[in-house]
Symmetry: D3
Subunit: 197 residues, 6 copies
């Protein structure tokens, strides 16, 4: 937890394999973004600390992230469901836990994250979301096999053309994100393990 | 090929599964970026036409791309080698061909792209680049198995800490890019098939 | 939660694909075992409700389980670590969550279960346990490749011959257990999601 | 072959990686069980010798086995077909050969075991058994993908609810058994290679 | 390119892992076959140089090849499409490039080879050829799953019984050829990279 | 068994998916080869009946086979060991059984075939043959990963350069043969199941 008057503190153990810079040494725009996020969450999510290692990538990563959650035909709950199902398949500890918390909060369901991490096929979700996750997981595990019929299944489930694009984009972005987090050894904040349970 | 006085023309068949907007209808910043790219290449690479479908994603995608190639401890030739090896493993037609052209150009080697698409292990590359591609392909195919010893191998091959981060970031980004291109059915421009041969 | 004076109540939703019998209709030995377990845990773990479907299998399953945890060269914490690492690899929702709670309790570590579910390679464990889980996961994913050198690695890590047998036996048993739970659609009690966090 | 007056002899080479105890040193209940089995088969199947290494596990293993073959909605021939198909997929030498003999005997078919070891899809079996083995092999290779529709297929093939449970239980148990046999290096008795041919 | 009066020259770098003999030292029948091929192509394809290492295998290999292309119910274009799709899946540099050239020439399509190397599912081919390649790739990647229904799909696509046999035979032969080329480190002639583009 | 005075009889059930011609209708060279083989074996191996479907392929297949067993640096026993290990991995019923008989005969070992079908790693073979089968199975399952170090391992195990080529060629040929047998539904003669046991 951070004291609201104090500068955010970037946890040294936010990732295992690269050093975490000091908040004070960051460019102003990164400081601002981190301060905002810290205010909102009550702590500094470790992905912000980790990506501070390289400011140009910090900006690119969060700008892409923000575009995905702000300009979208999907509900935020749907986005987080995709993230956790994809991360479960890729076995990413950071994203399982940090986005697991987000899925619990946005879907207002304390069990859904553990279900999606294990096997989205047996999660308590409706048929529309089942189809959405079928495609997201196929695009993750075997993109070479994705075909027009997968897009057609999404359309039949009621998704718009833009939603199809967004489902693919979120899936693709977390295939980036999982790999970066896993390579760098990012560690979720302890808070994420219990948030929304 | 485009006439230098004319506005760029976004090819209708740049991707198979989403519509391509008209150049004239794009936001000014996209028009500018596309015009520049078209001038440089002599044609409009289809990825620009395809991503115009959703301008907020266009910006995020190319900003991340630009960060990866502009603020990097890697040679551009190394970046393109990673892209083609990753895309070969993921079986992405668009990236095999478009970045295959770039690898031929940046590495000044007409054969290297076909080698990397097939099997980076038998490509004509030095030991340093072999280690680089070992890690990039492992992070692509089996991120769950990437460990400290993989980073150590890169260090022993002479890469700096920042270069390690950059190798992972390029790999991660093209795991995004491949999936987006494959989902959308992006098609490389004919020009890419022969450039640099 | 059960009232200590009342008979245990077998949850109807303990598994999705087979009916749960009434506690009152169970053979006396099953009633006794369930009552004991319910007293100990404060609720009836759903695996007991689920296996009540077929009493002869209930007895066989829990007798094997009891032999594994009672006559063993391993610490209980080690057994539960194996269970969660194996279940994470097999993607078993029931065992991830129910044994995740046990690993938190026996290892007195609120984070370890989420780490093991995701990727035992990046969990906060010592080298001895790393070797133990390397073999358990290999025996789960690719038993055909297990060889003398895997047993040798366990010996070098300090495990006795009996411990080697026990590591394999726990791994093998949860390859049974995961499959039975997944086929039957067993659901962990809500309590397990938060126990020990 | 054993002399009917003599005590059974536990073969030293029944498994490669753990020592085999002397029959005389075993607890009485194990001696009895082994004597019975030896009388019935005319030799002591090596799995009995191997599991004697740890008597509590011997009891648990054979009690579970006995429950599976004695309290079942399946024909014994069906059980052995599942065992051999599962063991073929897991590449377990002991179970391929020992249960191969049992499948030849119970199905009264000298060719069936070799067919099931290779590929159950091309074995001479009826459609009902084909469906049964489809599910058993899927539950073995990819339990995460088993869904309600797999159970439905079994029902449509004519299996009762209890038979569904039993098919899953036999499959699950031999996923235990294969892994234990493979880890311990169990070797089938020579007699099994030719029995029933 | 070879001078038509000169003897063919077997390139020393036609394969990396075995020595290439001198043309003059080859048995007369090999010399004749190589001279013919060199006349036809304008250069000596490296597979001829490589297989000269063992004349009895040279004869067997090319006799089988010739039977496949001369006594067939398939168009030559179809044969080359199978070869490139199979080689793409097996990641064979030699066959991707050398037969990529042939597919460009026989199908009179400069883009088709790069499409087939990447992913036959997104290549510009008709439904008949799509079915043909579905079966060829399945027989390559997972022969254990090929069943009567795969042959039926080919029949429904209009292929004769003999064509079915031929599709399987070409697929099977290039599973041989890919493995031999990959083991020996065969390298395509530079000419193949650009032929037919 | 055939009567030595009678013409060989090609079994109608030699393969499931293509018709078997009459012996009398075959070209003379096929008749001769089949008659010889039938004399030698005492029955007509079904692969001869099956390949009679297309005489040009019959000739090519057996000429290649003959080159592999007649002009070789390997012992015939070694060739058959490779064939059975490869066929076990590919799950080919015909080759497991027919070449299983040959391995029993040539290695004079009644157990070896069942061991190799299951898992060559646990077969009773010396270190030299273990290395030989490591490479053969790797070249079968994952040719893309075969590298110079695999050839080096064979050299260190004592194999000559020509033996390396021959190991790869036998492996490659049975990757052809397995696929053809599996596609056509070839069935081993009953005699093969017991020969050499």
């Amino acid at each position: 937890m951070t004291d609201s008057d104090a500068a955010p503190d970037l946890a040294d153990d936010a990732m295992e394999r690269f050093p975490i810079p000091d908040y004070e040494d960051l460019p102003e725009d990164l400081q601002e973004r981190i301060a905002e996020e810290t205010d909102r969450a009550g702590f500094t999510p470790n992905v912000f600390s980790a990506l501070s290692y390289k400011p140009s990538h910090f900006r690119a990563f969060f700008d892409y992230h923000d575009a995905l959650v702000e300009d979208t035909a999907l509900e935020r709950e749907e986005i987080e469901m995709i993230v956790v199902a994809v991360s479960g398949v890729n076995h990413c500890y950071y994203c399982n836990v940090a986005h697991g918390a987000l899925v619990r909060i946005y879907a207002d369901d304390p069990l859904l994250a553990d279900q999606l991490v294990a096997n989205y096929r047996t999660a308590d979700i409706n048929d529309t979301h089942r189809t959405m996750l079928d495609v997201a997981v196929k695009l993750t595990e075997s993109p070479v096999e994705v075909e027009e019929e997968d897009l057609e299944a999404l359309r039949e489930a009621g998704f718009s053309e833009e939603a199809l694009w967004d489902i693919a984009s979120v899936t693709a972005f977390y295939n980036l994100s999982n790999r970066l987090a896993m390579f760098a050894g990012m560690r979720p904040n302890e808070e994420f393990h219990t948030l929304g349970r």
